[in-house]
Symmetry: C2
Subunit: 383 residues, 2 copies
């Protein structure tokens, strides 16, 4: 671990700090994407993803791209032009998912929450009694606000009132740190990316689709309006690698997949329950410390707050750039605001992956000290 | 270099062997994508790409994705539904580019060459006198056949006969190893990927667009039919990072971009002319050796053959799997066939990047010995 000591600790809501073994996998020597060395690594990674997503038969996709590409996958494979999509919007990422859906012809209705609030079950119930939606999208954690959605509760009401609606979860900032039970909750798609709680450098778009979602995809009547995002290309590739055969559509990012494999093995080496608890504990630790400094959070209450990140309003009199720079001078990197309406009014701290699961690294202590000291140095005297 | 000795030498037409410093950059510690550490690395990489593409004002795009994503970028940003596209097809990648163009509504006409032949200037001249094409696409090197297109000659005839047609070059297997002069030849788009002659692990879709192409994009009348591939998102990001500011659309693949930066600095440290010559020399070395063994090449003559790879017919009596496995037992990995019509009849050898530019590594000797010995062991007695 000592080799990592000199760099600024990256405590943003992704990319997160990476385990040394994951970084070593990133520099795997040149390896053919269809070689007997690589095929089982890719194949096993696909299988390990099922364990992390808590699904028996969900179909994983691992594609070269950013998390954003997951929206294109959902919008272009599952929704046909003119079909209705309901977007539960708790921040920036709800806006973007809506925009993406519209590009591919969906008619989008949004349930927009006030900043810091999460969608209530009643709001969902009301919305789905109006119209028959092809899909409903839930941002599990909106990275711009740190608001945590009640995926389980929403899923229940959708299943009851509108059983044909596909339930889509944007899990970019939740997979690997928030409780998310694909099969048990009846989710149809969870999309995520490598650089958050999965603990792998950015560059992989990762998605799991239910058997039902794959059926809907296979039975679509209109042509798929994307080439790169089309499951018609990726499904055979995933099946081939899972059955330990090479196949070509686009060159997979070999080194990133080696890194993914390393991280997935670490993640699945302990029960996922334990991992969820570790993130809850880390989150409470950070939130209690900031609370005791008299700071206010974007999410209205702890229940509606993410466990992998925290979004905090700057206290009166503290300038955004000042705090971020001061914290950086303590060798810790935190993130500014992202939600357009209030971008300069708050900052964000990430506490996912090894920062939460390996307390011996003292990442939480380090970020709490850096924040406490920085605020003091900027003249903030607490509550 | 000794650390790389134990692995099987990867002599396929991408991914290629990577320089140690590039691999070290791949394991760059966690770094925020909007940090003062990373922003100049991304910004400088964008600028260095212009030097490699030999352009003053071309607009580089560096996006998380496979090379394949470049086709979506061209097809969704530059062609509007119903517009005509002319595809010069010298193999598998011409078929795929055509398929991608059609997904986004282009009307595609193909000039298909016989396997091993390249499109003649006369064929291009005839094709563009029939119709007014919005774009013409040229696969500079079709990785499935090893055929090298005459981009300069084609560009000349298009400029003369159909000056408004945008000239698009698929340079996935050519950028960094084949002579390609963006400004001088009047190219409008070159798309490529990281894992070939640019010497970086797979995971980056890289593209350069001319000022004219950007104008055409900005003046399009119909909505852009893609979200992830839309230049409306990527253009502001590229401009921001180039002017040393962070901006967010999708998390860039930080570690891959550090690796790209390292490789681009190496590539631009000597004149590109020298690099082109090094690849020509390496190519002749390989082709002369295989020629002297009595083997036959897919490309009909040396002029129509790529300098970064070689496609070779199996000699009579040699089974595909046998040769690839035998060569692997000599610790060298080569590639099988990819062109659907003759996939089991030929194999491919890559000689790009450090394998061509750093002869002291003896990669060419190693692959020539491995092939010579393997053929002998399989009972092939030469011409």
């Amino acid at each position: 671990m000592s080799s990592q000591k000199d760099h600024k600790l990256c405590m943003i809501p992704g990319p997160v700090e990476f385990h040394e073994d994951v970084l070593t996998s990133m520099s795997t020597l040149a390896t053919s994407h269809v070689s007997p060395a690589f095929i089982p690594v890719f194949g096993e990674s696909i299988q390990l993803l099922r364990k992390v997503f808590l699904t028996e038969k969900g179909q994983p996709f691992v594609v070269s791209g950013s998390g954003t590409l997951g929206w294109d996958m959902v919008s272009s494979n599952l929704v046909e032009p003119g079909e209705d999509a309901l977007v539960l919007n708790t921040g920036y990422f709800g806006d973007s998912f809506s925009e993406c859906l519209k590009v591919y012809g969906a008619k989008v209705t949004q349930v927009k929450s006030e900043i810091g609030e999460r969608t209530t079950i009643q709001e969902v119930s009301d919305a789905i009694s109006d119209k028959s939606y092809k899909i409903i999208t839930i941002t599990h954690v909106d990275t711009s606000t740190g608001v945590l959605a009640d995926v389980k509760g929403i899923s229940e009401v959708v299943k009851k009132q509108s059983p044909n609606t596909l339930i889509i979860v944007d899990g970019v900032c939740s997979v690997g740190c928030e409780e998310l039970r694909f099969d048990e909750w009846g989710i149809d798609v969870v999309l995520t990316a490598s650089q958050k709680a999965l603990g792998v450098p950015p560059g992989l778009s990762i998605l799991v689709a239910s058997e039902r979602a794959i059926e809907v995809f296979k039975n679509r009547k209109t042509p798929i309006p994307s080439y790169y995002a089309s499951w018609a290309h990726w499904l055979p590739i995933m099946n081939a690698y899972e059955s330990r055969k090479g196949m070509y559509f686009a060159t997979p990012p070999v080194q990133l997949i080696y890194a993914l494999n390393t991280s997935l093995k670490q993640i699945t080496s302990i029960p996922l329950e334990t991992r969820f608890e570790q993130h809850k504990k880390a989150s409470n630790r950070i939130k209690d410390a900031l609370d005791s400094l008299g700071l206010n959070f974007l999410p209205k209450n702890r229940e509606a707050a993410a466990n992998g990140m925290t979004a905090i309003y700057y206290p009166e009199g503290i300038q955004p750039a000042d705090l971020l720079q001061k914290v950086a001078s303590h060798n810790v990197v935190i993130a500014g605001g992202l939600h357009r309406a209030i971008a300069t009014k708050y900052f964000r701290v990430g506490h996912m992956g090894i920062s939460a699961t390996e307390p011996e690294r003292k990442h939480l202590d380090t970020v709490i000290s850096a924040l406490t000291d920085s605020l003091k140095e900027l003249g903030y005297s607490g509550k």
